[in-house]
């Protein structure tokens, strides 16, 4: 039987993907929310003067960046319960994996952005009597945040796409939903095109939103001139 492309199937599939789409959104938003907090914390820890603190941060970053996310997910969902005797619900496990994984990359983004700010800014802050913490809060952080936006956008898109790996721990996210539809309809060609289109729509939205944030935060002097 010759293959026949049926574009209509793509359109018919889209509404069926909505439930999976929501899971992907939960995973991405939840994972990145906690990943951002974790990334900022560990990024700042890596810059700490105390060697012990920066070592903890480095250890975490190296461990997570150096192992595949798929392995981390399998370990957390299948491996860890063997030791502690309790399985985490799949959605929660997925959010945790995205959080610790994106957190490691975001930590490096945060550290890089802070270190890219001219040391003269810190000196100027300290010379008017601000403490280290005040200098970070009022002078370094606002400038660093602007520089973080483009690489953060990149990371958000990567994490969104990485949620598809979480089908292996049984989260009914977008790709898994697509796979279930294929199992019934056997229209793999059209269904996976539909799945890809939904991912594309989401990643393009992220880029758009971040570009808006970026222009909002842009150095006021430069944009008004």
């Amino acid at each position: 039987m010759a293959f026949q492309f049926e574009p209509a199937v793509i359109l018919e599939t889209l509404p069926m993907l909505v439930r999976g789409l929501w899971y992907t959104v939960y995973l991405t938003v939840g994972g990145l929310f906690f990943g951002f907090l974790l990334g900022v914390t560990t990024g700042l820890m890596k810059l700490a003067r105390r060697v012990a603190i920066s070592c903890i941060a480095s250890g975490y970053i190296e461990l997570i960046r150096g192992t595949p996310m798929l392995v981390q997910a399998m370990f957390l969902y299948y491996g860890l319960p063997m030791a502690v005797g309790m399985r985490i619900p799949p959605l929660l496990a997925g959010i945790i994996v995205i959080a610790i994984n994106s957190g490691a990359y975001i930590a490096e983004i945060v550290r890089g952005a802070i270190q890219s700010i001219d040391p003269g800014q810190t000196e100027a802050g300290r010379s008017i009597g601000l403490t280290r913490a005040q200098t970070m809060r009022y002078i370094i952080w606002p400038q660093a945040l602007r520089r973080m936006i483009p690489p953060l956008g990149n990371q958000f898109i990567i994490s969104l796409k990485d949620t598809s790996l979480l089908m292996v721990i049984g989260v009914g996210e977008l790709l898994r939903t697509g796979q279930e539809i294929v199992a019934v309809t056997f229209r793999a060609f059209e269904v996976y095109i539909a799945v890809a289109l939904v991912y594309l729509a989401m990643t393009i939205s992220i880029s758009k939103v971040l570009r808006m944030v970026e222009s909002r935060l842009a150095s006021p002097g430069r944009s008004k001139q």
């Binding site: 001219d118 003269g120 800014q121 300290r126 010379s127 008017i128 005040q134 009022y138 150095s219």
Partner: protein, 243 residues
Amino acid sequence: MIQIRNIYKKFGELEVLKGISLHIKAGEVVCIIGPSGSGKSTVLRCINRLETPTSGTVIVDGYDIMDPRTDINAVRTEAGMVFQQFNLFPHMTALENVTLGPIKVRGMKPDEASHLGYDLLTKVGLAAKAQNYPDQLSGGQKQRVAIARSLALQPKVMLFDEPTSALDPELVGEVLDVMKKLAIEGMTMVVVTHEMGFAREVADRVIFIDGGQIQEQAPPHEFFAQPKHPRLRDFLSKVVGQG
């Protein structure tokens, strides 16, 4: 006001300061000159502990800044610093640059601080630029805002680290004029500079640093008319030859 006693500073193997002692009285204007790499900026930066001397003592307005019990943030508010590269905060308006210190360090109310900020910007001739961001200002204007920012803490001493070296030549005058005004008002000032005209006209004392040591110090008329040290004579002939 400032007493520097026998300070040494090493960066790794490199010894930048080799026993500098310097006393600066209240109201005195001291200019420090010398070739680049001579350690003159380092001396200045040791006064508010942006650099910590390897040994020796620095006492600013009665505070021993090497003493760990000294609140260094408090000392820094007594010694305003003006940098070669201005180091204005680019994400804040000129006014916000000036008021940040008073609000966060002195706990001043925002409207009170902005009053003070306008007064200081008026003093440096930039009241009209209060709402502008640093990127919208010329180099000379940025440096004048930076001076206002330091003055906002009502320091007892002002430290200037080559304040006009990064400026286009036609903008140097406006910054020097502000500094002269401060000197006339009786501000204690330590100025690392290459502006010999300024040193000659405004300084009470000129100091020549070379190789991490004070080689010569004298009132300007004597300093420029009868330089004793051969290296100073050499330095002056080169600098004056250019100017």
